[in-house]
Symmetry: C3
Subunit: 369 residues, 3 copies
Amino acid sequence: MIIGTCLILLNVNISVAQQEFDRKNIENAMVKAVEWQEQHPIFGSEPTDWTNGAYYTGVARAHKATDNMVFIAALKTMGYRNEWKTPSRYYHADDMAISYPYLYIHNNQLRKDLVNLEPTSTFINKHLFEDSDWKQGKGDKEFKTILWWWCDALFMAPPVIVEYSNLKNDRKYLDAMHKYYKQTYHLLYDKQEHLFSRDTRFLLRAKETDLKEENGKKIFWSRGNGWVLGGLALILESMPKDYKHRDFYVTLFKEMSFRVKELQGEDGLWCTSLLSPESYKHGEVSGSGFFTFALAWGINNGILEKDQFENTVLKAWKGLVTAQDSSGKVGWVQDVGYDPKPASKDSWQNFGTGAFILAGSEILKLRLP
Amino acid sequence: MIIGTCLILLNVNISVAQQEFDRKNIENAMVKAVEWQEQHPIFGSEPTDWTNGAYYTGVARAHKATDNMVFIAALKTMGYRNEWKTPSRYYHADDMAISYPYLYIHNNQLRKDLVNLEPTSTFINKHLFEDSDWKQGKGDKEFKTILWWWCDALFMAPPVIVEYSNLKNDRKYLDAMHKYYKQTYHLLYDKQEHLFSRDTRFLLRAKETDLKEENGKKIFWSRGNGWVLGGLALILESMPKDYKHRDFYVTLFKEMSFRVKELQGEDGLWCTSLLSPESYKHGEVSGSGFFTFALAWGINNGILEKDQFENTVLKAWKGLVTAQDSSGKVGWVQDVGYDPKPASKDSWQNFGTGAFILAGSEILKLRLP
Amino acid sequence: MIIGTCLILLNVNISVAQQEFDRKNIENAMVKAVEWQEQHPIFGSEPTDWTNGAYYTGVARAHKATDNMVFIAALKTMGYRNEWKTPSRYYHADDMAISYPYLYIHNNQLRKDLVNLEPTSTFINKHLFEDSDWKQGKGDKEFKTILWWWCDALFMAPPVIVEYSNLKNDRKYLDAMHKYYKQTYHLLYDKQEHLFSRDTRFLLRAKETDLKEENGKKIFWSRGNGWVLGGLALILESMPKDYKHRDFYVTLFKEMSFRVKELQGEDGLWCTSLLSPESYKHGEVSGSGFFTFALAWGINNGILEKDQFENTVLKAWKGLVTAQDSSGKVGWVQDVGYDPKPASKDSWQNFGTGAFILAGSEILKLRLP
């Protein structure tokens, strides 16, 4: 019946229009977040540190998803002001994070002399192929026994190394990365819980001094696991499909994704202590943003089943946008740290903004409901 | 009759109040545009490049017209961060553009050691008086046969040279400028159309490979001609009244002004392809801003007849302000390029903002209707 | 009676809630002022000059009072961009002012290698212990006969020196400061009026050429005295309670405070010429901000009687907030200068914003009405 057909077409058009409307809202939220963050520059030790590394990784992904000039303008200005330098601790994965946006800008601008990749190259080669105290188990603290002795490192360095390996078309970088990644995996991954301990201080050794939550559970930090899962999405996107160890990362990504999904709160967000939400009873944005990014990326790239994860990520995004105020500021971000601590409406950090826009950059690509 | 006289006086007062109100609105639009642009720094190759040269030329003129501290604050911060440097391609007119705002700051601040004019001096002297491949017709592309082989160059370098000539009180700089200006004029100016081709690729040579619009017309790029006409206003304002070649510039300014006036669109703006508005059917802000600036400057400086041009420029300004959104952002700016291409509500560039405030800086001085 | 008790408790609760509400409003006004100022960077000669020294001293005190990250983010970014340098005129008190925020950041960040105090140390030691023309009475102008020959200097250098003395735990710095402070005191302090002349040009020598206000009164500049009184609050807060000359500063602080209180205008603010408010009949924000800061600090630190000064400072704050527009901009600030001149709604300066937030930082600590 002709009238019926017309109605169906009309419905489709409304739905498409609604989709466009929703996408524009998401992009606007991302733009406002970046505009606010650019107006409130912050760092821990210096502007090239991991806090900005993580933030501008988000800006790079936001640009990739939208092509909005606000994002590339912020990236170029940042890189130029930093003179494309890295911090100087070649043994420290944190100091490699800023090279992710550098490589993005290099790969996405016609002007090939814009980015000076020399400092990035030097850093990666020294980090992977020169001796250092940590590699030799001689860190200044007893728990610094391997190169990547804390789980955050799996976001800071591996995605950069995969991108660099592609650029150089040389898998020796992938192989070196895999070696160190596996060390961290064996040290910190809990094969029952499918979550990472932040570092060996949080492993249980059946001693009285073991650190535990008040409810007796092991301490699994939301942001720490967000670093790992978000990092895995970045790694998998760039890693050649035929790389010999790729399956290891796919499996790990899936295991963690299913576990993380189970731990989502009613508000769509994750509390800072994954197995003890009662410790600080509010969603936290940095960990939640990284989880949302990773799960949505998994759907968009055919690694996670849409039917199983779509509700999770849409609910998560709904929660995330409530953390943004009308100025664009993204709150409810736990401060710099290494274990679960509370956040508040007013606590913000550049890397929290980064997690927020990373999430948005993949939510944009979903077929919205 | 006394009552009648009173009424007339009253009308005058209302009109003066209205004028002030309108002027304040124009200045506010300019301030908002600059505030937005300062919060979204952008460049092509580096912060001293021509994109910022053109933008900060607009900021300098905005300050000259209003004395508003927002403008001089932005100028000083820019100059200090750039260490008053130019880019390093001494043969390239584009790289001289940043010196226009440097010279403006120098001329308008009491503190005479604020601006370091050394890099500007070096650039100008090398550009004009040292050999280069382009001067010798040995450019890397066949159309690079003279120093200023593209019409944009006539905005980038000549106004700076005239200012510098005044500062040094030495007309050798004017003479050198005139020599190169005439070369470009002979190469690219269409004496029938009274418009400039962007470069020799757009000249017609009666060959099959000639580039033409779909309607068969010659390709005259709006922004390209905006660079020339806007540059002429800057040149004429600074050039000594008794300079021997001044008439050449006055004549050219008038010829182009009358032609440009004819090509204005219904919305007050100019399309990116001047003789083929049907190619991209929307006003474009960078070309339109430069035209508006130049025509209003012509009225304000007694070179163009007010009766003949006032409606054009007021209609143009009305069009330009519709391109600014509530955040202050000026959209509808064609991206970096060299021939007519479309723009959109969301396409912005620092030089587009520069064109917008250049226009405002002269509209402010009109006796408004 | 039980019901009565309940009502009293209820009233107390309402009052506490109101207090919190008012405090949040004050903090918000301070945050908006700093956000606006950060978006409109300005300086006189360079970003490390006294204008930013005074502004970021305000930002430091705002952070101390609120712990709001917006303030510490601005401070760290400023210090990093300035490479923790001072300007280079070691003989000039103005060029020491930027070290107040440097020392604050150093004292308030866990990361002790963040701030490089080397340039500050060099400056202070040269300033105090090396010869200079001013110390020897050989300034380029006849009135430059002592190190701190103008009263503004008493804000620019002494608070920094006291902080540095504490850091080094060495009172030789305090003693040197006291020596030069007393020179200025003897030269410029009017023991009848309890106010400072800006410099010797404004002293009366019973000559025809003496500078006076139109009403015949001596010229006492609001901001000049604001520098002194605000500086005294900073000095007294940091100076050891047992320092041998402390009483001198307490006495001077009290004398000036009582005099300043008498000169407050109806709108809560002070005019630029303290004894000739009819010269420019409007409150001016930089002087008023420094006065408000100092008087509120005096109450909060038990040096001034609350009963005698609370109305003054609350009225002053009420006046100050009317100078802030909805964008956050603080207007009614007299431009850079050295004697009373008018301001306007649109006249702003970074040090005016600094005075505004300094005032807020102490108003916050009052028990509000």
